[in-house]
């Protein structure tokens, strides 16, 4: 375990140093994040020019937006820089080098790079969550439960993303498949109450976006049932095991770049 942590620290400090060559990019990213956030709050306000989402006040909707923004930041920091490299590894044949290292390959592929560019989104997102939760109608919410739920949400999205990225072992060029997934995550901008029943079904059971933003928000605002947490935990575990099993299965048919 200590060895793993040491390796992780090496990985992350080198990747941060490499990225910080483009310091001025940080200003562009920060402007982009604040613009994006302003844009999505504007979109939310348009819904509240009418009846709004049934059962959700504007401030409660803000909490969901904040969670979406924070997740987008976390994805930009950890998920997309790492998992987009799997595709490059397969294409260029450098996956062999990863497999030969005396450290678990899935771990290396999933955590090799830490990118600083998602930090503005993450910080702004947390700010919006705090503001929204503070101004929402007072109920018995639980910060602890919300954090646990968000953790399960993070595992769920990692599992889905890794499953899709693993298919590149067969199809090689899969950049666009992760784009399809990323596009579907946009549904997490609004609470599930915003959607018709058919959409809610899809976003709960097919592409479980509901567990990313709506479930943690409901627990934070004290309007969810703890049973949802159980569902999230089960799904997270399932996806984690599935991603592991699928990766091993994929490796069996991996034959290197010349195969």
């Amino acid at each position: 375990m200590a060895r793993l942590l040491r390796i992780l620290r090496c990985y992350w400090s080198t990747s941060l140093q490499a990225e910080l060559e483009y310091r001025s990019n940080f200003v562009v990213q920060a402007i982009g994040s604040s613009l994006a956030l302003a844009g999505s709050i504007f979109a939310l306000s348009l819904f509240y020019r009418g009846a709004g989402f049934p059962g959700w006040t504007f401030e409660e909707g803000l909490v969901v937006q904040g969670l979406y923004s924070a997740f987008a930041g976390a994805i930009a920091c950890l998920l997309s820089p790492n998992l987009s490299r799997i595709v490059q590894h397969v294409e260029a044949g450098t996956l062999d080098f990863v497999l030969l290292k005396p450290i678990d390959a899935q771990l290396t592929l999933s955590l090799r790079v830490l990118s600083p560019w998602g930090v503005p989104d993450l910080l702004f997102g947390i700010g919006v969550i705090a503001y929204g939760a503070w101004h929402a109608p007072a109920r018995e919410g639980s910060v602890m439960l919300a954090i646990v739920a968000a953790g399960f949400g993070a595992i769920i999205i990692y599992g889905m993303w890794f499953l899709v990225a693993t298919t590149s072992v067969w199809f090689t060029k899969i950049y666009n498949a992760t784009e399809v997934l990323r596009g579907l995550l946009d549904a997490g901008r609004f609470p599930m109450a915003a959607y018709p029943a058919a959409y809610r079904f899809v976003f709960t059971f097919v592409v479980p976006v509901a567990f990313l933003t709506t479930v943690p928000a409901e627990l934070l605002l004290g309007r969810g049932q703890p049973a949802m947490l159980l569902g999230a935990a089960g799904l997270a575990l399932l996806l984690l095991v599935a991603s592991r099993a699928f990766w091993r299965f994929a490796l069996k048919s991996y034959t290197g770049a010349s195969g």
Partner: protein, 263 residues
């Protein structure tokens, strides 16, 4: 003139062949554009809850039209140009007796044709899943929508290609597009039809290029009557002229400054 036409048709057929080689990628790109369908769900529900003065089915048609217009007006020249500058391909293009702009235009136009069957498939699937939204636009609406979608493509291409030229100075212009894309999403009608904007804001936005990318053609396609066509055409053409002129000025300056990678 004849020689120019022959060149262009050569470029078009070459790029069409090239695009069809990436069929699987094209269908994934079409699927990746799920945002109109997500927002369709949210706005459908909002319209059914009342307070907006339009029905859920009208919303569904509008966002389907948004999907179609986006399929017709996708532009990615800035990423292509970035790569061409960084990898030195631009230097080769410059040696040939065709302005590189025509290459990018040919690639974009032929991709549209290659993508068409997949878009049609998605539309058919949508009508199958949600029969109430089925509709056939009037021939005149369809024609007008196509004209304005073409203008939208021209404007978006001129705007993005002008930004792309800054790669001649910085080698990484695509981060500018990241900022522009946010404005594009919010103000173009992609996240909400402009009818729900506050009146003063909508009036102001109509002077910017953004609503002409999506809202105007999508409204026309879904049978909207509340578009001032003369104003729309004039503002849109004005912006296109401005960006084309700007583009040529920046192109001349940039070329003087451009030195290939490794030089």
């Amino acid at each position: 003139m004849n020689a120019a036409l022959r060149r262009m048709s050569g470029l078009l057929s070459a790029y069409y062949a090239y695009m069809t080689a990436y069929r699987a990628e094209l269908i994934l790109w079409a699927l990746a554009n799920s945002l109109p369908f997500i927002l369709m769900g949210a706005w459908y529900q909002a319209a059914e809850n009342g307070g907006y003065g339009f029905s859920g089915v009208e919303v569904a048609r509008y966002f389907l039209a948004v999907f179609v217009v986006r399929q017709l007006t996708v532009v990615w020249v800035i990423w292509e140009f970035d790569q061409d500058v960084q990898r030195g391909r631009l230097s080769q293009y410059l040696l040939q007796p065709v302005d590189p702009a025509w290459r990018y235009i040919a690639a974009h136009l032929s991709e549209r044709v290659a993508r068409l069957p997949f878009s049609a498939l998605i539309i058919a699937l949508f009508f199958l899943l949600f029969p109430p939204a089925r509709f056939v636009p009037h021939a005149s609406d369809l024609l007008l929508a196509l004209v304005f979608a073409s203008l939208a493509f021209a404007l978006r291409f001129a705007m993005q290609y002008t930004l792309a030229l800054f790669a001649l100075w910085t080698e990484r212009a695509s981060s500018l597009e990241g900022l522009m894309f946010i404005l594009y999403l919010v103000l173009s009608g992609a996240i909400a039809p402009l009818e729900v904007f506050p009146d003063a804001l909508r009036a102001a936005v109509l002077w910017t290029p953004f609503p002409y990318f999506i809202w105007v053609p999508a409204r026309l396609l879904s049978g909207g009557v509340d578009v001032d066509l003369v104003q729309a055409a004039l503002v849109c053409l004005g912006w296109i002229t401005l960006f084309v002129v700007l583009n040529r000025v920046v192109w001349r300056r940039g070329l003087k400054r451009h030195s290939a990678m490794g030089a």
